[in-house]
């Protein structure tokens, strides 16, 4: 997949397993918690 290749090429130092990088990309995207009080414009 394009994303995997891009990350594999730009990795400089340590060897990074492709699936870990994929996970990192996925993890950031799946869930985000926000506070019910964390929106500006309510009492």
């Amino acid at each position: 997949m394009a994303v995997r290749d891009k990350y594999a090429r730009t990795m400089e130092t340590e060897e990074i397993v492709e699936t870990e990088v994929d996970e990192a990309v996925e993890e950031e995207l799946l869930i985000e918690e926000i506070s019910i009080d964390g929106m500006c414009g309510v009492y």
Binding site: L29, E32, I34, S35, I36, D37, G38, M39, C40, G41, V42, Y43
Partner: protein, 373 residues
């Protein structure tokens, strides 16, 4: 969600608000000098009980999970409990904001028996001297009594909400201690020059040094103190504070006022920011989804005069209510810009051209005025 972050998605607006503020009445037994809704007298055109329930039916159908009820003083309405119970019965969680005057022992017990209900008690000083100077004689005692009644009734954690001013900014630690003593949550929010706040903002708003004090204090407190995401303009000072750090008005939140008018948020009760009315054909849902104002707010906003400032990504140009009611352009710096970028403009604002709140329900014989400190 590949390209856009969550915040970018939210800025485009959702099909329904995440939560919203609903001011139930303009009537209030107090006359706080900075009241964002200029409350005091009931408006003759306020929504009836039946109309209020229709709004709640709509919110239920839109799957709005949580509403923030306020006013004026919401408990002044004779149908207050009926409305709150109807909301909860329809799967809408409620937080109501109150000065506490009407939370006696019996009401405290009644409230404690209700599920999915949060209470927020307003307090602007750690003692009567500081608080009552802004909220009126006896208001500190009333708030503390309400807290005591809620504690005695085992209500559980309630919220204490403080509008931060020049005169209470040194009391933040004590506010936290007070909240801790009740097992309550402390909430501090930003003073906006809205409603009666337009008249007293210049004397009450924190100084630049105090803004830094607030920011550092909030950073140290992390998630233990709520802010309603109202201090994101301070993020230009460094690490961002917890919260979405974006203006939610017309995007994920809005205001329904006592006569059913829908505004972008409670701090812009002005025709410029009125989206429509729940009494219009199509009701609230139509206003939320199709009003010109909200569609415009959901467009990408330009940084305008802030484009050349490195802090814009952090502070988002601040609060449109703060800019609007101090006579500043909306596409420029916030009046409290921590980099001082609004100072010159503020100095040359034409007071006679500065927008005034569109509505004023203040009681004519207001005895409370801002004492000199």
């Amino acid at each position: 969600m590949s390209a856009a972050t969550l915040v970018e998605q939210l800025k485009r607006g959702l099909d329904a608000p995440i939560c919203l503020t609903w001011e139930l009445t303009y009537a209030c037994n107090l006359q706080c000098v900075h009241c964002l809704s200029s409350s005091g007298r009931r408006d003759p055109a306020e929504l009836s009980t039946a109309e209020a329930k229709q709004v709640l039916d709509e919110l239920r159908d839109l799957q709005v999970f949580y509403i923030n009820i306020g006013g004026g003083e919401p408990m002044v309405r004779r149908d207050f409990f009926e409305i709150v119970e109807y909301a909860i019965g329809n799967g809408i969680g409620v937080k109501f904001s109150t000065n506490g005057t009407y939370i006696d022992a019996a009401n405290a017990r009644r409230l404690a028996a209700m599920d999915y209900l949060d209470i927020q008690i307003s307090l602007d000083g750690i003692d009567a001297a500081t608080n009552d100077a802004v909220r009126g004689a006896g208001s500190y005692a009333a708030a503390r009594r309400a807290m005591d009644h809620l504690a005695a009734a085992d209500f559980g954690p309630f919220k204490i909400s403080v509008v931060v001013t020049r005169h209470n900014v040194d009391q933040l630690d004590q506010f936290k201690e007070l909240a801790d003593s009740y097992g309550a949550q402390l909430r501090i929010t930003r003073l906006r020059p809205s409603g009666r706040g337009a008249d007293t903002w210049h004397q009450l708003h924190p100084t630049n040094a105090q803004q830094r004090q607030i920011y550092e204090w909030l950073l140290a407190k992390g998630d233990t103190v709520l802010t309603g995401d109202s201090f994101f303009h301070l993020n230009a000072l460094g690490e961002p504070l917890p919260g979405l750090n974006m203006c939610g008005a017309g995007r994920v939140v809005c205001l329904i006022d006592p006569v059913g008018d829908v505004y972008a948020c409670p701090f812009v009760i002005h025709d410029e920011f009125k989206a429509g009315s729940v009494r219009d054909v199509g009701g609230f849902a139509h206003v939320w989804k199709h009003s010109d104002l909200f569609i415009e707010l959901r467009q990408p906003q330009s940084a305008g005069a802030c484009a050349s400032c490195g802090s814009y990504d952090a502070c988002q140009g601040g609060c449109m209510a703060a800019k609007f009611f101090t006579g500043l352009p909306l596409d420029g710096p916030d009046p409290e810009c921590v980099n001082g970028h609004a100072d010159t403009a503020l100095g040359s604002v034409r007071v006679d051209l500065t927008p005034r709140p569109s509505l004023d329900h203040s009681r004519p014989s207001r005895t409370l005025s801002l004492a000199k400190h």
